[in-house]
Symmetry: C2
Subunit: 125 residues, 2 copies
């Protein structure tokens, strides 16, 4: 038996509402079809990672996987997010796995090719 | 008849080689199967947008579509890139269309859901 898992799609966040709306739409297919999945922001927007982990841990979640909605790992994913996670694990007595940024999964490259095909169709219609 | 089109996948760029390698892999399926597609970087890495546009325009390309390998539009895509494009259009006498960032295409959200499924499989195996 495995424990249920809380999935957190982690986006950068911004004070620009349009930025957050794009990420909320990106998260929609996941949130709607995978149980215990939510979006959270690293900074500048709510819900924060802290808010989501506090909430889920109050509901009994102990295991989390953070999937970064970042195409590649820069300073944030190499330093800032691991430090945030370490602090949150201690604070909430939970276990949090930081997955690779989505852009390292080959499925993203295939999706990008389809997006480019859409753009070519748009440009030539 | 429509003119042939040069597609440019535009990534942010970084002095960190691992960052660029991730984007080169992301671009691979597109570059390998769509004619006249190349990756370029906005800053901090080569080939730059300028390099690619200069090269392609020397080979006769007059129409470009820049597809931003960004999940959402922030200051770079709202201000910096349009300004770069305006300058490059004048300089090289070409027409450059800036597409929406890839994250606004619903195909990305579906790919993210599949990435999350992969992560759940990884976490529970």
């Amino acid at each position: 038996m495995t424990q249920p898992h809380q999935i957190i799609l982690l986006a950068h966040g911004s004070s620009d509402i349009r930025w957050c709306e794009t990420f909320e739409k990106l998260a929609e297919p996941t949130v709607q079809s995978i149980e215990n999945a939510a979006i959270a922001y690293m900074e500048l927007a709510e819900p924060s990672l802290d808010t989501i982990i506090a909430q889920a841990s109050r509901s009994g979640a102990r295991r989390f996987t953070v999937v970064p909605l970042f195409l590649a790992a820069g300073r944030h994913l190499r330093k800032d997010v691991p430090a945030m996670i370490e602090k949150l694990e201690a604070e909430h007595q939970v276990s949090i796995r930081l997955a690779e940024p989505i852009g390292t999964n080959p499925k993203l490259g295939l999706a990008i090719r389809e997006v480019v095909r859409d753009e070519l169709g748009r440009a030539e219609s």
